[in-house]
Symmetry: C2
Subunit: 113 residues, 2 copies
């Protein structure tokens, strides 16, 4: 999803939407196209700070999207095209998912920043 | 890391340690053994609620560990064996990592809970 890998986030506080999911193995081409489209779209959203994503060979994946505020998370959640794709994901692509919205309070990195 | 995939977390609030990392491709056997050992060890820690982990074929991974409190996150951070392995990770296994500590405020799941 994010070719570069790491999100370049500002100093906390900010918000994280942690999306854990298991794919059902169906519709890979459609799923990949929709994921790419959503990744492009979210970057145009107010308050979007970055995203990180990894999916293992077994189909379990974690995507974390960072936003500056709860209000802008809600705006993205209510985005019309995003809502349509999300419903399609529930019907067609995910065996199960968990969404957790969290406030990032502190952050650090390594081995070299 | 977590064979089952999803963490069974309680109702918020609780805490998430979001660990994003890129492996350097070195020492895979040692790294895998240490990761398995740490995954076993963290489950014995006070306040540990669960963990989720995914790493893609390119070596970029996200692990999220859930705890009941900041205090228990600190206890795990200060655990002697964990500290030794963490330092080894910095020296030997990771090209880069980001750690973000966040308070989970709300959560939901789908398509069926």
């Amino acid at each position: 999803m994010s070719a570069a890998g790491f999100a370049r986030t500002p100093k906390p506080p900010y918000y994280a939407v942690i999306f854990s999911s298991r794919r059902n193995g169906e519709g890979e081409a459609d799923y990949a196209a929709a994921a790419e489209r959503m990744f492009g779209l979210v970057q145009t959203q107010p308050g979007f700070l970055g995203a990180e994503s990894a999916r293992d060979a077994g189909g379990f994946g974690i995507t974390v999207a960072y936003f500056d505020s709860e209000e802008n998370i809600r705006l993205w959640r209510n985005h019309a095209e995003h809502a349509v794709v999300r419903e399609r994901g529930k019907r067609e692509w995910y065996e199960h998912f968990e969404v957790r919205v969290a406030k990032v309070e502190r952050a650090y990195n390594g081995p070299n920043s």
